[in-house]
Symmetry: C2
Subunit: 130 residues, 2 copies
Amino acid sequence: MYALLDLVLIDLHECNHERLLDAEEIREAMLNAAKMMGAEVVVHSFHTFKRWGVSGTVTIAESHLAVHTWPEHNFAAITFETCGKGMDHRKAYKYLIDFFGSRNPKVTHQKRGFVETPAKKEISCKQKSV
Amino acid sequence: MYALLDLVLIDLHECNHERLLDAEEIREAMLNAAKMMGAEVVVHSFHTFKRWGVSGTVTIAESHLAVHTWPEHNFAAITFETCGKGMDHRKAYKYLIDFFGSRNPKVTHQKRGFVETPAKKEISCKQKSV
């Protein structure tokens, strides 16, 4: 069995409060993280919400990234969902831990989308826009 | 401890191949699913990729939904990430299982974003756009 997707959940506790408020700063950080992991960005969308922080998604050729912040908890939840091999998730989340100034980050790795594939067949999942 | 986020992973195997190809049809289905679960849609973005299917994200006031399809595997991976209580995930994913014609769906539920909260304090996470 082969897993099509890597899922990385990055729960950033005890963040720098100011970093959780500005959608444009967070957009730039998420795009930097996408590049650092080796992803190809397709489109991105970030929003500031009244009182409750920022939400953003980055569609990449290899699936997507997402972020949601809770300034009232000094907390940010980041998700990397990527297909294909060779993505440097660690480089990307280390950068984001630093960006958000999290003093208590929790990172978990999972796999999903288990499919049967022919043995020795090399898998490339990278999407091409039409 | 209180979990800020529900994470529902919906792996749809053995889908109807034709349902995995059209970004506009999939956009409509994902927006229907968002409404069915009781979410408030903020923005959405869907893309068709050459050969490899469709990717889409729906930012909701309660976090986000995402979908990625692999027509070559007759497979779709859907993610619901929502905060707050009272979201009807089951109604939404049952609709999507039916939409994609999946004969082998796998659904898993997780929680993330554990924070300390005052006892008896009612949590509302719904975001308001500014």
